[in-house]
């Protein structure tokens, strides 16, 4: 299969869905002529025109709200927000409007609204441009939370997002845009709530999403050299969460490491851990390990930035702990 970049896969999804449905449109800062800061929307203006591909002023609350309103009126907007950090300006529209509308209206009102944005550390862009904020959206009933780690998932999930009827927080990662992977051409749909086993293994389950998936895969490769076969499970969507696949993996390996880039406190990892202990306590042979960001704002300095979010070695150490392997035993090996 051909290999394309994550950002190209996203573009392909938008392009195909705009082609397919004239109600799909996209607005954002610098997304039209300029093609977006991450080049996801390059070429769309030329192909679909200024009516359906629009630049906005710097007005996040307004543009998110306008997107939500257009969705309520039956269109299928994509609102691109440059950084998830900036989505905080539009939280009323996300939390109090988009997420609530269906229930408040007794089920008649639907909000097929997609907010595409990106988060994550590692770019040297400091505390206001590096956050991983999925837990905020995860906490709000009524929102779908999507975090693709691979180009094929990015395409399939975005296409699905544009065909369903609930507000979607589509959270990309700034470090994934240039990563390459096999992506099917044409119709390729990934439904929400279907986890993907990125690497099968029998010894320990590593649950990770977004940019923590490639990190978990690197850790798994290193663990394999020690004879440890880690299974890497990517939920792909945090809401809805595919607990079935997660629990089945836990039942096979009996040991769990959950990796999230976001800060530890109040995170999604803690919630997944609580689900596992509630549903599969007697399958566990070791305490669930959580590897997460520190409970701090992201610093600018490169080494300190690295120290603030999980690295490959943190995942490896957590897997060994889950397997009751003493650090000394590794050293002796």
């Amino acid at each position: 299969m051909r290999e394309i970049m994550y950002r190209e896969a996203l573009r392909e999804a938008i392009d195909e869905e705009m082609q397919r449905n004239s109600d799909v449109f996209i607005i954002g800062e610098g997304i039209a002529e300029r093609g977006g800061s991450y080049k996801v929307t390059e070429g769309l203006l030329a192909k679909y025109g200024a009516r359906r591909v629009r630049d906005t002023p710097i007005a996040e609350a307004g543009m998110i709200g306008v997107g939500v309103g257009a969705a309520i009126a039956g269109a299928r907007p994509i609102v691109e927000i440059l950084y998830v950090d900036f989505a905080m300006l539009g939280m009323d529209m996300i939390v109090n409007q988009a997420a609530k509308f269906r229930l408040m209206t007794g089920g008649d009102g639907r909000v097929p609204f997609v907010m595409r944005t990106q988060g994550g550390a590692g770019g040297g862009v400091a505390a206001q441009h590096s956050q991983s904020l999925e837990a905020l959206f995860y906490h709000i009933p009524g929102l779908k939370v999507v975090m693709p780690s691979a180009p094929a998932d990015a395409k399939g999930l975005l296409k699905y997002a544009l065909r369903q009827d609930d507000p979607v927080m589509f959270l990309e990662h700034k470090h994934l845009y240039m990563t390459k992977g096999p992506v099917p051409e044409g119709e390729h749909i990934v439904e929400f709530g279907k986890a993907d086993i990125k690497r099968p293994g029998r010894d320990v389950t590593i649950i990770a999403w977004s940019n923590m998936v490639p990190r978990a895969l690197e850790a798994a490769a290193a663990l394999a050299e020690e004879g440890i076969e880690a299974e890497v499970v990517d939920p792909r969507t945090l809401v809805p969460l595919d607990t079935e696949t997660i629990l089945a993996s836990v039942a096979r390996t009996n040991r769990v490491v959950i990796v999230q880039e976001a800060v530890r406190r109040g995170g999604v990892a803690s919630d997944i851990a609580s689900i596992i202990q509630e549903e599969a306590f007697y399958e566990l042979d070791a305490p669930i390990e959580i590897v997460a960001g520190l409970n701090i704002p992201i610093p600018f300095n490169l080494e300190l930035e690295k120290a603030s979010v999980p690295q490959k070695d943190d995942v490896i150490r957590a897997a060994r702990r889950a397997l009751h392997i003493q650090p000394t035993a590794i050293a002796a090996k």
């Binding site: 004239s22 109600d23 449109f25 009516r51 359906r52 629009r54 906005t56 002023p57 007005a59 609350a61 307004g62 543009m63 998110i64 709200g65 306008v66 997107g67 939500v68 309103g69 257009a70 969705a71 309520i72 009126a73 039956g74 269109a75 907007p77 009323d92 529209m93 109090n96 409007q97 509308f101 229930l103 408040m104 209206t105 007794g106 089920g107 008649d108 009102g109 009933p141 009524g142």
Partner: protein
């Protein structure tokens, strides 16, 4: 009365429609407050008493296929838009036959299929939502117009400028109606801004803007009609500031002691219902017996709606669990 309105020689049918709408809102609010006092309605109830002329005049200038977005004080907008009073009362009484099956209540009545994007519990939220509906219409190549009813309180919220500006740069068919009732809960507009002539906010970003006596339903109607024509000609958006005053506090349980009596008396002497009734009598020769008959009919319609709501059932917890299973 406005000379231009007289010259336009509106038909009896039209004047009667205006009076009926305004009076229907008055009855809904007056009788609704009684139901609230009886303990039949829970939560918040923000009466539209005194402001009926605005929803009445604005909605009369719109047509099927257009959209409205409303405020927390939304009963009047729904009624003027043609909502079924039965389903509205049922919603207030948290019944399954209500517009929101009893999940929304007073602040969330909506009828998406008919273009009512809903009341809203967050002050100012209807503005971006309305601009969004106008954007959706433009993208679909429709000439539908969207009206957002907003408030003087909301005019100091950031989304007011952000979304009106988006409507302006995109020439959307959008009309923003500021119902300036001069109080944000208990804070007078003079304390919340240096210039209380709120229509000027639109001028600052290149939006055609007007001020109108919100207690004069016909003046509101004529101004809105012009605004609608401006929009359908592709020259939107338009901002309308309609000055008015509440007849009581912010909600049913707010005595509104902060509202100066002389100002209240001034506006009550210019009551929108009285003016709609006078217009009907003076311009079409309807007599007192006809008026009495219309008023009795509307009162009976409300009583019927109360019976309907009382007889309706509530959604059960089991049904609700089924509804929310997808969350």
């Amino acid at each position: 009365m406005d000379e231009a309105v007289k010259r336009n020689a509106p038909s009896r049918e039209f004047l009667e429609k205006i009076f009926r709408t305004a009076y229907r809102i008055r009855v809904f609010e007056t009788e609704g407050i009684k139901l609230y006092r009886q303990g039949l309605i829970r939560g918040y109830f923000h009466p539209y008493l005194g402001q009926e002329g605005i929803a009445t005049g604005v909605c009369a200038a719109l047509r099927e296929g257009d959209y409205i977005a409303s405020t927390h004080r939304g009963h009047g907008h729904c009624i003027a838009w043609g909502a079924d009073v039965k389903r509205m009362v049922a919603e207030l009484l948290q019944k399954e036959t209500g517009y929101c099956r009893g999940y929304g209540g007073s602040m969330h009545i909506a009828d998406i299929g008919k273009g009512n994007l809903g009341a809203n519990g967050i002050v100012g939220a209807g503005t971006p939502l309305g601009v969004g509906a106008a954007l959706a219409a433009q993208i679909r190549g429709s000439d539908a117009v969207t009206v957002t009813f907003t408030t003087d309180g909301a005019s100091n919220n950031g989304t007011f400028l952000e979304s009106l500006n988006l409507a302006a740069i995109w020439n959307l068919n959008f009309i923003l109606v500021i119902e300036n009732n001069q109080y944000a809960v208990s804070t007078p507009i003079e304390e919340a801004t240096r210039d209380a002539d709120l229509y000027k906010r639109g001028l600052s970003i290149g939006v055609e803007s007007h001020q109108v006596d919100g207690n004069d339903p016909l003046a509101v109607y004529h101004l809105t009609r012009e605004a609608v024509e401006t929009c359908r000609a592709g020259k939107g958006p338009v901002l309308i500031e309609a000055k008015t005053f509440r007849h009581m506090g912010h909600h049913v349980n707010d005595p509104g002691k902060y509202m100066p009596e002389e100002r209240l008396a001034y506006y009550k002497a210019r009551d929108p219902i009285d003016r709609a009734r006078a217009a009907l009598v003076e311009m079409s020769g309807v007599d007192k017996a006809d008026i009495d008959a219309i008023e009795a009919e509307i009162a009976a319609e409300f009583a019927e709606a109360v019976d309907f709501a009382k007889e309706s059932r509530e959604v059960t917890a089991a049904e609700f669990r089924q509804f929310v299973a997808a969350y």
